[in-house]
């Protein structure tokens, strides 16, 4: 049988100050870890939510980003005639020719200016994406009108419904605000393809073409057909993969966050060890008494290990709670693929919290292992004599 749990709990309460201080250290380490995980989680969510599973992005051969890709407009007709394309209600193939560039506007985080993706798009392109208009109206073809994603509206003070912003060859009027759910598209500016192409002197070369296959099997065949077609000289990548690949943009921050969390954890671990050693020393007589009463070495070990784990788990849970409010925080990170900012929301989800708690448990075990062992290994007489 084991030493009662209440023994550990009450001992922790008796040395409240020390317990709280050690706890606080672990709590902060867990908080930093969970925050970093939440950042990556949020980024990943945004990228995972963007892209239709049956859609392929066509770029210039070898291209890895829409921004750096130059696709001659002739590609459009060649692609439209391919078999396996999904069609819209009117029987027209869902194929969208698009031009991508960046504009620079002062943002909340960067008053000096931050890049935003500008996309020249036709109505078919809008149809192919699950984006709806929440305010205003869509842009008209032939007009210098644009719609902005809701994250742009939120993070760039000069971008408001009805106001004008300048990029390319002049001013554009913001006529609508869009909502793409939780996707990258909320960080984009959309305008009429022809207008934008001429502004950037790109009448003959678009950036990419978006196509949709009829089903997953056809998708695969279509991909190969496009890549093998020598007239096109193109690369086809599924929309999902294209965006998933951009998650690496959060890598530096994730790395930094985890590095800091681990370093803090090591520091906290030493503190836990120290605290527990002190507790063992102080309760030396108790340990001797318990052994005299018949409790085995194993039960002593378990008891002290439980105590250090209690401190750690309590701290871990508090750390997660501390970070929960981040769920309502939006931030932005620059993608090196689109060279523009992607807005995302921190995501403290169940997996993140579980990771945080496991982290704290491991810390508790590691920190408390040596002192617990020392307690268990004490000779009864020596233990009774100390203190």
């Amino acid at each position: 049988m084991a030493i009662p749990f209440s023994y550990n709990v009450r001992n922790l309460m008796v040395r409240k100050t020390t317990t709280m201080m050690t706890s606080a250290g672990i709590m902060l380490s867990v908080a930093v870890l969970v925050a970093s995980l939440a950042l990556v989680n949020g980024l990943r969510t945004v990228f995972a939510n963007t892209g239709h599973p049956l859609q392929l992005l066509i770029l210039r051969k070898g291209g890895t980003s829409e921004l750096g890709s130059l696709l001659p407009t002739e590609s459009f007709e060649i692609l439209r005639s391919k078999a396996g394309m999904a069609v819209d209600g009117k029987g027209e193939a869902l194929v969208s020719l698009e031009l991508v560039n960046v504009a620079n506007l002062p943002s909340v985080d960067n008053p000096k200016g931050m890049n935003i993706t500008v996309r020249g798009i036709n109505p078919v392109g809008i149809e192919m994406r699950s984006v709806r208009l929440t305010d205003g109206r869509w842009f008209r073809s032939g007009q210098r009108e644009i719609v902005i994603g809701k994250s742009v509206a939120r993070r760039y003070p000069t971008a408001k419904l009805g106001s004008r912003i300048r990029f390319g060859k002049g001013d554009w009027e913001i006529v609508g605000i869009t909502d793409g759910g939780e996707s990258v598209l909320n960080s984009e500016i959309w305008g009429d393809f022809n207008q934008i192409a001429s502004d950037y002197n790109r009448q003959d070369s678009a950036s990419s073409v978006l196509v949709r296959a009829t089903d997953p099997v056809t998708l695969d065949a279509l991909k190969h057909s496009i890549e093998d077609d020598r007239r096109l000289n193109a690369t086809a990548i599924t929309e999902r993969d294209y965006y998933a690949g951009q998650t690496a943009s959060g890598a530096p921050l994730e790395f930094l966050g985890i590095f800091v969390a681990v370093a803090m954890a090591i520091g906290s671990g030493f503190a836990t060890t120290n605290t527990m050693y002190a507790a063992v020393a102080k309760r030396s007589k108790e340990i001797g008494t318990l052994r005299t009463l018949g409790f085995s070495e194993g039960s002593i070990l378990l008891s002290f290990l439980t105590e250090s784990m209690l401190i750690a788990v309590l701290a871990g849970v508090l750390g997660c709670v501390l970070v929960l409010p981040l769920n309502w925080v939006t931030s932005g990170v620059g993608s090196f693929v689109s060279f523009s900012e992607i807005a995302f929301r921190f995501r403290v989800g169940p997996t993140t919290i579980v990771s945080g708690v496991i982290f704290s448990v491991v810390l508790g075990v590691l920190g408390g292992a040596l002192p617990a062992r020392a307690a268990a290994k004490k000779e009864i007489i020596a233990a009774l004599r100390e203190g």
Partner: protein, 250 residues
């Protein structure tokens, strides 16, 4: 019940070899109330520890109920101690964060009794020692005498074969000391408990039924006492401090 044969204990302290016990032969029968007397450093506490299997003899053997407890190891030895021994310390050694009731119930946690049964037993025993109204007090809320009574209750709650008491009155004033000794005597008389008590208090000795003397690690033959015992019999007023307690544990 207890048979010690050529029991010796030596240990090294700071590069010095200390002989705590030398070739002790002792027999204790059931129902006895034996007092072990001797000055500081005579080895009486060591003998007690060896009987309780809290320490290993350097040579020689101790048999308890015909069995050498050191033939057991680890958990088995711990269980053996739980079942057969009730130990009372000079400085009570109650767990500060547990109530009197919980302290007394602690040894029962190692048995197969249900939680309810454990509490019932503990309550009974605490009432037996006269503390039925202090069940939920913490040690710091009890007087020295009351703490020791809780400690005795804890020692007998598993109904062990015998009670070993190491200077049970050492930290108590005269009145409380008396209560404790009366309690022990009652346990021995009315409940047939075998008691071995280590003490250097001559007043305490009067409650025991037999006395053996220890001097410099050697056990004096029964009935014999050191000649100059009367002269050396000064009760030392000790300030409870680490130094003194550790000496006393010899």
């Amino acid at each position: 019940m207890v048979e010690a044969r050529k029991l010796s204990k030596e240990y090294i302290r700071d590069a010095d070899r200390v002989v705590a016990l030398k070739d002790v032969d002792l027999e204790i029968s059931g129902g006895e109330f034996l007092a072990l007397m001797g000055p500081s450093g005579s080895g009486k506490s060591t003998l007690l520890h060896l009987i309780a299997a809290m320490d290993r003899p350097t040579s020689g053997q101790v048999l308890v109920l015909g069995k050498d407890p050191h033939s057991l190891a680890g958990r088995a030895l711990a269980r053996w101690r739980n079942v057969h021994i009730g130990f009372v310390f000079q400085s009570f050694n109650l767990i500060p964060v547990l109530t009197a009731l919980e302290n007394v119930a602690l040894p029962l946690k190692l048995t197969s009794l249900s939680a309810k049964e454990q509490m019932e037993h503990a309550t009974t025993v605490l009432s037996l020692v006269g503390l039925g109204d202090r069940l939920h007090h913490f040690p710091r809320q009890l007087s020295g005498g009351q703490e020791q009574r809780v400690a005795i209750a804890r020692a007998i709650v598993t109904d062990p074969d015998f009670i070993l008491a190491d200077e049970p009155t050492g930290n108590l004033d005269a009145a409380s000391a008396n209560e404790i000794l009366e309690l022990l005597a009652a346990l021995n008389r009315d409940h047939d408990k075998t008691i071995v008590m280590v003490t250097h208090d001559p007043h305490a000795v009067r409650f025991a039924k037999a006395i053996r003397y220890l001097e410099k690690g050697a056990l004096r033959p029964a009935g014999e006492q050191p000649e100059d015992w009367v002269d050396r019999n000064i009760s030392v007023v000790s300030v409870p401090s680490a130094k003194n307690s550790s000496e006393a544990l010899l």
